[in-house]
């Protein structure tokens, strides 16, 4: 019982306080590429969370047996095997979404988030906390993906999960879709805005300025 608060803390910390995407700069690549619609974002979030949790569990279980010198290769092979399983599952049962995700499922292998968590946490902790930490990070990642995916699909197409939410002007409604939302730049802007919002709400995440201007001295006259 005494350990429960710790686990709960490990689970909840990555949601906002230590969010992997907005604070640790991990796993951004896929976070932006797959968020043109909510359905692909959800699939990606679930796949990544599953891979991350399983990889952390496996690596943490055999952590005492991995030689230090080849640990990166061992970790990558474990992650790649899990990703292949997920990829085959998606191709078998969700063929349409799998095509929409294109190479990005395969790219979970090189997602810095997975390797970052296994390297930084799972290597030093027992399987249970390692998996809880991985699951929490997966949830934090999913949260960002779902927020951005929902915003982009809502304003870009007026739909959520393919169901029309804002009546489109082309079919008699009032909403004209912002096609910029479906293009690459808007993902950057939205994520930048999200980072700004989170850091305004939690000022302890603000980065220190690189350059502090010297205190202004009053002119002599």
């Amino acid at each position: 019982m005494a350990r429960r608060p710790d686990l709960l803390d490990t689970l909840s910390a990555p949601l906002l306080r230590q969010n992997p995407v907005t604070l640790q700069i991990l796993g951004i690549c896929s976070a932006l590429a797959v968020t043109t619609s909510l359905a692909t974002a959800l699939t990606m979030a679930v796949s990544l969370t599953v891979v991350l949790t399983l990889a952390a569990g496996v690596i943490s279980a055999i952590r005492a047996h991995i030689p230090e010198t080849i640990r990166l290769i061992v970790q990558i092979v474990i992650i790649a095997s899990l990703v292949i399983v997920i990829d085959q599952v998606l191709q078998a049962w969700f063929a349409e979404i799998s095509r929409a995700l294109s190479v990005f499922v395969g790219l979970i292998t090189t997602n810095c988030l997975v390797l970052g968590r296994t390297e930084a946490y799972a290597r030093f902790h027992a399987p249970l906390p390692a998996m809880v930490d991985a699951f929490g990070n997966g949830l934090g990642y999913s949260l960002v993906l779902i927020v951005i995916g929902a915003l982009r699909e809502l304003f870009g197409k007026g739909e959520l999960m393919g169901i029309e939410v804002l009546p489109l002007a082309s079919s008699g409604g009032w909403y004209t879709p912002l096609s910029l939302m479906l293009l690459a730049p808007s993902a950057f802007f939205l994520l930048g805005g999200l980072v700004w919002a989170i850091r305004s709400w939690r000022p302890e995440q603000v980065e220190a300025p690189e350059f502090v201007p010297p205190a202004r001295t009053e002119p002599a006259e």
Binding site: T22, L23, I25, L26, G27, I28, C29, S30, L32, A33, L72, I73, I76, V77, A80, S81, V83, I84, D87, Q88, S102, V103, G106, L107, T109, T110, N111, C112, L115, L183, A184, P185, S186, A187, F188, F189, L191, G192, G193, V195, W196, A197, I198, R199, S200, P203, V206, E207, P209, E210, F211, P213
Partner: protein, 204 residues
């Protein structure tokens, strides 16, 4: 020839890895603080991608593609599900090899690269280059040009971003936007500019 040139341009500009496909963003954002390190990263990217994409193309065609074992009388063998592991292995080996060669013959360049070289093993853009090669069924020449073009495009983007960020170090930004936030917005603006290249370069 003109086909290859337009493939080079489209890989580097219209389908720029970090700005329009969001690949390799982690290193793109993390190492663009200073122009010198950004340049080193860009050169290393171009070299590694120019080597690994054609190499993986050879391996894919000879070993992994469906029907690759027809010469041995086993045309039904399809190993393409192994391509992910094979590609990662090749990339890790090439990066390691490049590091050893540089260390032995060009110690100055090796010192300039520093820690970026081993990091390239887990760079999504490099793996994506090989995966795109399979998806679009490039020939050997096309994959070499595609690899070089993507690497050069990455180098261009990361050097430009680092130049802007160096200037911004002296700007008075809102607290929450400092660092990561403004970098995203800068990348968004650059991506807006790069998206104009789609009309300049015919996508093959």
């Amino acid at each position: 020839m003109s086909d290859l040139w337009s493939l080079f341009l489209s890989a580097g500009l219209a389908e720029n890895m970090p700005l329009s496909l969001f690949l390799g963003l982690c290193t793109f954002l993390a190492l663009s603080r200073r122009p010198e390190s950004a340049l080193g990263l860009g050169v290393a990217m171009t070299a590694v991608m120019g080597v690994t994409v054609p190499l993986n193309q050879l391996i894919y065609q000879a070993v992994l593609a469906p029907g690759a074992w027809a010469w041995a009388g086993r045309p039904e063998i399809d190993l393409s599900y192994l391509s992910l592991i094979a590609f990662i292995g090749v990339i890790a080996a090439v990066v390691q090899l490049l590091e050893m060669v540089l260390e032995r013959f060009f110690p100055a360049i090796h010192a300039a690269f520093g820690v970026f070289l081993p990091l390239l093993t887990v760079q999504c853009a490099i793996l994506a280059g090989s995966l795109f090669m399979v998806e679009r069924q490039f020939s050997l020449a096309e994959s070499a040009v595609f690899g070089l073009g993507s690497g050069a495009g990455f180098a261009l983007a990361v050097v430009m971003l680092s130049a802007v960020r160096t200037r911004l170090a002296y700007a008075d930004l809102p607290d929450g936007l400092r660092g990561l936030g403004i970098t995203f917005i800068l990348a968004g603006l650059m991506s807006l500019g790069f998206s104009a290249f789609v009309q300049v370069v015919p996508v093959p």
